[in-house]
């Protein structure tokens, strides 16, 4: 059981899908609302990612290795199902920039997580299941943390330059360094 727990926390922290793998970073930077709204919005987006990742994991586990080349296509379809769930909940609607819908931002973490799990060949099906759960939990935590950081940045009376998206990138960089335990030093 502790091994499963280790895998879960490993994917919450050391393989965090936002700070370390950067799959959900764009989504988190752009879409995090006020802190008190982020709990619900984060849950809706996380639910969509969970649906696609767990479905993708289930299909990948039951597909023969000869047909591994079709997996990106399957992951894409499961990601669209996740987007459907998110759209139904009303979390990501409308356009982002220059004709691009906002829900493309959630496609990257969905697809990225599924492809990343496919690469984790040392894990068995059950371990991958808990790894996906850990990744999703990690995403939700980061969503709330970044909402809090953004809110603090906006409330503070500081230069405009310190309220830009780039500060969030630097903050994410420090979080990433902390999560890996400064193992580069």
């Amino acid at each position: 059981m502790s091994e499963i727990g280790d895998i879960f926390w490993n994917y919450v922290l050391r393989n965090n899908m936002v700070f370390i793998l950067s799959f959900g970073l764009l989504l988190v930077i752009v879409e995090t609302p006020r802190l008190n709204e982020s709990y619900v919005k984060g849950l809706k987006i996380t639910a969509g990612i969970a649906v696609s990742s767990l479905t993708g994991l289930f299909i990948a586990a039951n597909i023969s290795s000869e047909f591994a080349f079709v997996l990106p296509g399957i992951y894409f379809i499961t990601s669209l199902v996740g987007i459907y769930v998110i759209n139904k909940s009303g979390a990501l609607r409308g356009q982002w920039i220059e004709g691009i819908p906002r829900n493309i931002m959630v496609l990257v973490p969905q697809l990225g997580l599924q492809l990343f799990m496919q690469e984790q060949t040392v894990l068995n099906y059950l371990e991958k299941f808990f790894a996906v759960l850990g990744s999703i939990f990690g995403f939700y935590l980061v969503f709330i943390i970044m909402a809090a950081v953004k809110e603090q940045l906006e409330l503070n009376e500081t230069e405009k330059i310190f309220k830009s998206e780039y500060i969030l990138l630097i903050v994410s960089g420090f979080f990433a360094a902390i999560l890996v335990g400064f193992n580069f030093m």
Partner: protein, 199 residues
Amino acid sequence: MGKDYKRIKKIILSGLLILIIGTNDVISALIFSGTLIFISLIIRIFSLTVLKKLRVLSQDYFLWGIGLALVSFLYIVLPGIFPKIDSYINIYYLLIGVTPIVYLNSGENIRSDFIKNSMLFLLLMIFISLLREILGYGNILGYSLFDRPLLEISGRPAGALLILGICGMTLEFLYQRFNMSQKSGNKFFKNENEREVSP
């Protein structure tokens, strides 16, 4: 200046932010950028020709599917043609197919913004990767410059985010310094705009 600054900001957020972790050196940056430009071109031509004639529902999803299929094809085929490429491509290569920058104004004229966006993306990608390669590995194009890395964190995901953030901050500073009259605009903070409306 203001227009170019916003273009760079758009490219950083909609392209570099997703792919920069997957490129540790200049060669991988060139491979990623080349593929991204190629896919963008195909998508643009496809949406201007075939997709205009076909009445496809949910055009966005259709285009994303085509983008991903093209990248997946290249992901399988390229290492067979150029065996050395295998060490430079990873799962981030597949994410090129769903990177927002590929679909920026995909239904518009090829000449409109495509060339500028592509060239800027290529330059920024090479610049950041060059910094990461020199600082994180002490190399340049695979040739060793220093005995040991100057700043090992640069080779890690944390370093990629820090370098991207610092470069962006420098750019923002220069923009604000020279264009005090123009507001930088915070178009990308979608929810900030909503907050201005709400009481």
